[in-house]
Each structure stands twice: as C-alpha cells, then as structure tokens.
C-alpha cells in the first residue's frame, strides 16, 4: 500500500510542474511587464514610484533577466509562500488568497459530500425501482441538471429568492458575520449558507452520479450472489445496502477524482454570480484588471488542488479495491 502511495505521488510531481509553467505563462501573457503596469497603476492614482523602489522590485523579480530565471525566481518564491505582489491591492498576493482558497476548498468538499449524499440513495432507488414513476422523475431532473448551466440555475434561484421571498441568497455569511473574526458562531453561520451554492454547483455533477450509481447497481442486482442471498431469506433492504451497493460504490470513488476539476470549475463561475468570498470572483477581478500575479496564483492553486484531489481519490480507491493496489 505504502509503495503504491509513493509511486502515485511521484507521478503527480511532473503534473504539478507543468501546471506551474502554465500558470507562469499566463502571468506573462498580457503585454508589457509587471513593473511598467505597476508604475502606470501608481501614476494613475497620482503617486510616483521612486526609481529606487522600481530598481528593487526589478531585482526581486529578476525582470531584467531571461524568462527561465524569472520562472525560477517566481516558483522559488511560491514554494516559500511568496506569490508576488498584487498590482491592484498593493499587498502581497499571499495575504489575499489563503482565506479565499480555504473557503473554496470547504465549498468544494462540502459540495462533493452533498452530491454523494443525494446521488447514492437516489441512484439505488432508481435501480431497485427501475422504470417506475420515481425513476423517470429523477432521470428527468438529472437531464435538466446536465443541460442547464450552473450559472443559470444560480441566476434563476437568486431571482426567485429575491423577488418572491425578499431573500438574498448570495454570499456565504450573514451580513453581521462577514467581517467578524473566525469563531464557532461564524463556522455555524457558514454552514447555514453553504448548502445553497453547494446545491447549485452540485446539480450537474449529481445528475451524472445518479446515472452512474443507477447503472452500477443495476449491473450488480442481477448477479447470482444477490439471488442466493435473497433465496436464503435476507431482508431486502439489508441485502441491497450490504452487497450490491458496496460493490457499485467502487467506480464512484474513482469518479471522485474526475469530479473535482468540474466542481472547481463550476464553483468558480457560480461564486461569481452569487458573489461568494471564494477564489472565483477575485480571480475574475484580477483577470479583468490584469493583476497577473494574483490571477496566476489562483490558477496555480486551483489546478494544484484538483491534482492533489485526484491523488487522494486514487489512493482511496486503492485502499478500497485490492486489485488496483497489486495490479
């Protein structure tokens, strides 16, 4: 097992390396370098950057050196927690991103658990009640979830909540909790708000998972071991949940890794619509104002997050299924 984990972890390293290069290229894409933008940005607000200040910054980021040196300097900083300077906010990028990244992780994990919590029982129900009215209903809702873009669901839900119930479903905290320091009460408040974005982001994913769960369970239901157990008089409910469902869950765990990029993707755009304090809105803003160190940091971290998530789900699958461990 340990050997498998190590082998799998080593495989993730080149991926992370390529991701860092892609993020760095994104930082370099806009015309002009960081310093000219920085000076222009300062000038726009009526300030003057001193020549000394500019020279120091130039040295720190290696802007007068070849690109690969700049990359090495940048990635060296990143590995030590320094993501560069935010052009717009005039503070270090690191001080802006961590709380938002933490909330992004919380939202993604919560969404994932939420989709499982919904998809597993519904999938099993659809399989055991194949072609029943309930099965058709869930299939229909599932297709709707696949076809309707997440941001549309978010828009419509916000509109309905706003104009019929006078409610604001945006944000992750109540107004009085927004700026409060972290406490138990704030965490409770977070969970009170988390389920709406989780439901919206998870909608598309849940639909897919229900289909998978239904198909997997259907495959298992007609196998001889199920018939044997039923013939021996095992109670229907116990039988279903103890044997076929457990086997059907395996592809689910491996699917979790593939689910993550979608969750992060969907989460980004939904959080823009719902203006959640997660990575999405700040990333969008950074891109619009060409605040590239900030944007690059987000792209890097969001991508790294999915790679690490996939790694964890692969390890979990190996732990569940010995065939993979020794395969």
């Amino acid at each position: 097992m340990l050997q498998y984990i190590i082998r799998r972890a080593i495989l993730a390293i080149p991926t992370l390396f390529v991701i860092s290069i892609v993020s760095f290229i994104l930082i370099q894409l806009p015309p002009g370098d960081f310093l000219t933008s920085y000076a222009a940005n300062l000038a726009a607000t009526g300030e003057q950057a001193s020549a000394e200040q500019l020279r120091l910054l130039k040295e720190a980021y290696g802007l007068d050196q070849p690109v690969y040196v700049q990359y090495v300097k940048w990635i060296w900083g990143v590995l030590h927690g320094d993501f560069g300077l935010s052009l717009e906010w005039r503070v270090s990028v690191a001080s802006l991103i961590w709380e938002r990244m933490a909330l992004t992780v919380a939202l993604s994990l919560f969404t994932m658990l939420f989709t499982w919590f919904l998809a597993i029982p519904i999938g099993v129900y659809s399989a055991t009640h194949q072609y029943s009215a309930g099965d058709y209903l869930f299939t229909f809702i599932g297709f709707l979830g696949l076809g309707v873009p997440a941001f549309m669901i978010a828009l419509v839900l916000m509109w309905v909540a706003y104009s019929w119930f006078g409610m604001d479903v945006g944000g992750l905290f109540s107004p009085e909790m927004k700026t409060a320091p972290w406490s138990m009460a704030k965490v409770v408040d977070l969970f009170k708000h988390l389920w709406i974005p989780a439901l919206i982001i998870g909608m598309g994913g849940t639909a897919g998972l229900i289909r998978t769960m239904r198909a997997n369970t259907l495959d298992e239901l007609h196998k001889p071991y199920v018939m044997t157990a039923a013939a021996k008089g095992l109670k229907h409910r116990t039988l279903i949940w103890k044997y076929p469902v457990r086997v059907a869950l395996n592809p689910f765990v491996s699917g979790a890794g593939l689910q993550l990029p979608d969750l992060i993707s969907g989460g980004t755009i939904v959080s823009v619509v719902l203006s959640l304090p997660t990575a999405g809105p700040l990333l969008l803003h950074a891109l619009q104002s060409q605040d590239m160190y900030l944007a690059g940091a987000f792209v890097l971290l969001l991508s790294a997050l999915t790679v690490i998530g996939t790694l964890i789900s692969d390890i979990a699958l190996a732990w569940l299924d010995p065939r993979i461990r020794y395969g």
Partner: protein
C-alpha cells in the same frame, strides 16, 4: 402486417422498407405464430431485411426508435435554420435602440380582444408609459383601444442577408406604416433593443461556435488520437500523459485566464476565432480518447490484417478501412461535445471574458442579466438562457440516441 410477411420472398423485397421496431414486432408475433402454424419462409424474409440492410440503414432504424432523440433532432435543426436565416426571422435590426421603449415586458400575440371577439390575424395592444405610484419606476400598461395586427412576410427594416443580399422582408412583424408602436415578442432591454431579434442573431454565433470549435477539436483529436492508437508504444504514452494532464485542469479558471489574455483591441471575428481555439484546447481530449480506443480495437481486426497483407499503404488502411467503421462513433461523440462548447462560450461571455459587444451571442446577452436587481425588474433578460437550455438539452438527447444507434448490433 402479418399478411405482408407471409407473401413470397420476391414480393417482400419490393415492399417499402420497414422500421426496425416494425420488423421486430413482426418477428416476435411471427415467433408465436410459427410455433403453432410452422411457416418458415415468412420468418426468413423479415430477417433477410435486417441482413441485407446497410449499416447506416440499421443505425437509422435504431435511431428512429429513440423518439426523444428524433424530436430533439428536429429542435436542433429548427434552431440552426433560425440561425442561418437570422436576418429574415428577426423582426428588426438587433442594434436598433429606442429611448421610448426601455425594458418593455414581452408582448404576447393575441387572438381574442378585450371584448371577447376572435381575430384570425394575431395582434398586439398598444403600450402607454406611466409610473408606478409607489416606486416611481416607469412601467408599461396595455392600451386596449389600439390594436396592431401582426403580418407575415412583412416589409420592415432593411438588411443584408449573409452580408450581401439586400432585402427588407421579415418573417413577421407589424406593418411598416405603424410608427407609434414596435413589436417586442421577448420584451426589450435597457436600451430599448428588441430581445427577440437579439436572441435570433445571437443564435448565429452561439450555435456556430459550437460547430467550429468541435471541428477544430475533431481534427486535433483524430490526428493525435489516431497516432496514439495506431502506433502505440512511447508516442501513445506521451499523448496519454498530455490528455491526463489537460483533463485534470479545472477548465473554467484556465479558460478565464486565456480569455482575458486575448488583446482587447482585437476585432470581433478574431476574438471569435480565439475563443474557439481556447475551447478546443481541452475539447480535443475527449475526441482523442474515442478515436484511440476505436483504433486499438480495430487494429487487431481481420479485415485490417487482410488489407495489410494485400499490400495497402497505412494511409489507405486508415482512411478507407478503419475510419468508415468508427465514423458513427465519432459522429455521436461530436454531437455530445457540441453542447459543452456552447455552454462554455456562454459561460465565458457571461463573465465578460469571451465575446464582447457589439458581437451578439447568447452569453453576451446574458451579461445584461448579471445582477439580481435587473433580473428582478425584467426577468425576460433570461430569455437567451432559455434558448441555451433548450439547445443544450436537445443536443444531449440527440447525441444519446446517436450513441445508441452508433452500434446497431448491440442490444
């Protein structure tokens, strides 16, 4: 039907072809019948039809069984026809604005007037502007004293069809003599532009970007997937690594960053092309996986070996023998990836990182609906979203049916 089947073989061949479900029904009733009355020739004739049918015909029979897919195909075609003839189908120029008609709610064509009289020709009532006594917001009231009939093939705003045919006929609209009223089927936006015409014009970009993007990813996918599957070995390993890497990236943040990197000075056509390239960057991986899987399966087939022994060149084997046998799978995959492209373009443009006004796509139109207040005041701004949902669902069902039909021998 049973009587048909009992005809001699020669006459059956000249009969019109039956759909697969008919044939099957045929066979099942046959089975019971023949057990009792034992009439073997009839059975072989209906089976014969299946044996002699070409693969494409078998697929068509299979596809026809999937009623939802069939209906969806018509819906998709309907939308594409609208997109092609956007100038003609629209009521007015999509850029025409009017200070008099801001945020007009959708007007339903009516057949029955206030007195309960029926009119064969649909009409709309006039509009009067007044203010909400509480919020003082301008709002529109129906003026039931004025009726404006809707005519078909009416002369209206002049346009250039596909940019070079001058015309002024529209599918429907108010008479050109009416100057004190405009037709807003889907309402109007904050500048008084007709949402219906804008949605119709938006279809052109939104629907074509899906096609162009898919063609681009198809070329990349077939090329790289083909190389990967045909040669195997280290090349295969390398390409598979690249695919795995691209798959593990969260697409929206990546697309956002790339979309933001498109120079703002670019003309709309170039931005359009840039967006399709960005979307295909990830899209080709799905295509490549399917192509590779098919190549791996077919490489071992006897007919490929036979062609090779007969001295065919690699290119000839691939294009003449292998590609035709997995073309149907490709078509199904393509159909299923078009809706994703459409959704991605819509999402990007919605965020303001894709196409930008004056280009009109459904995503660009949805930018207007970005904040809750404007949606609450004029919910009809979500109309382009409805169009997206319908098209995406129709494409998904159609692709579903095609995927089932792509392998007509499986049950």
């Amino acid at each position: 039907m049973i009587a048909d089947a009992r005809l001699p073989l020669s006459s059956v061949v000249t009969l019109p072809r039956k759909s697969l479900d008919e044939v099957e029904l045929h066979m099942s009733t046959e089975g019971v019948g023949s057990a009792r009355t034992a009439q073997p020739p009839a059975k072989s004739s209906s089976e014969e039809q299946i044996y002699v049918a070409s693969q494409w015909r078998l697929m068509w029979w299979r596809f026809k069984q999937h009623k939802l897919a069939l209906v969806s195909t018509f819906i998709v075609l309907f939308f594409y026809i609208i997109a092609i003839f956007a100038e003609f189908v629209s009521v007015t120029n999509p850029e025409d604005f009017s200070a008099l008609y801001k945020n007009v709610p959708p007007q339903l064509p009516r057949f029955i007037d206030a007195e309960g009289n029926f009119h064969l020709r649909p009409f709309v009532y006039g509009l009067v502007l007044d203010r909400d006594p509480v919020t003082l917001r301008p709002r529109y009231k129906l003026d039931t004293s004025k009726m404006y009939p809707i005519y078909f093939f009416v002369r209206g705003a002049p346009y250039k069809m596909w940019g070079f045919i001058s015309a002024d006929r529209h599918l429907f609209g108010l008479s050109r003599d009416v100057t004190d009223m405009k037709l807003f089927l889907f309402g109007s936006d904050r500048l008084g532009r007709d949402m219906y015409s804008r949605v119709v014009y938006g279809a052109r970009i939104s629907l074509s970007i899906g096609l162009v993007g898919v063609i681009l990813s198809l070329v990349l996918g077939i090329l790289l997937g083909g190389i990967s599957g045909y040669y195997g070995g280290n090349i295969d390993l390398a390409i598979q690594r690249v695919i795995e890497f691209l798959r593990s990236m969260p697409t929206i943040p990546l697309w956002m960053a790339l979309g933001a990197a498109l120079p703002p000075k670019w003309p709309p056509e170039r931005v359009y092309f840039g967006i399709t390239v960005i979307l295909s960057l990830i899209g080709w991986t799905w295509m490549a996986r399917v192509v590779r899987g098919r190549f791996l399966a077919l490489r071992e087939e006897d007919f490929v070996m036979a062609a090779r022994l007969a001295g065919s060149s690699e290119l000839r084997i691939i294009t003449l023998h292998m590609v035709p046998s997995f073309l149907s799978h490709i078509i199904a995959t393509v159909t299923l990836s078009i809706p994703n492209m459409i959704l991605s373009e819509t999402s990007l443009s919605f965020l303001g990182l894709g196409l930008r006004p004056p280009a009109i796509s459904w995503g660009v139109l949805l930018q207007e609906a970005q904040n809750v207040q404007s949606v609450a005041l004029s919910p009809w701004l979500l109309m382009p979203g409805l169009a997206v949902v319908i098209v995406v669902l129709a494409f998904n069902f159609m692709g579903d049916g095609l995927r089932d039909a792509a392998d007509p021998y499986s049950r």
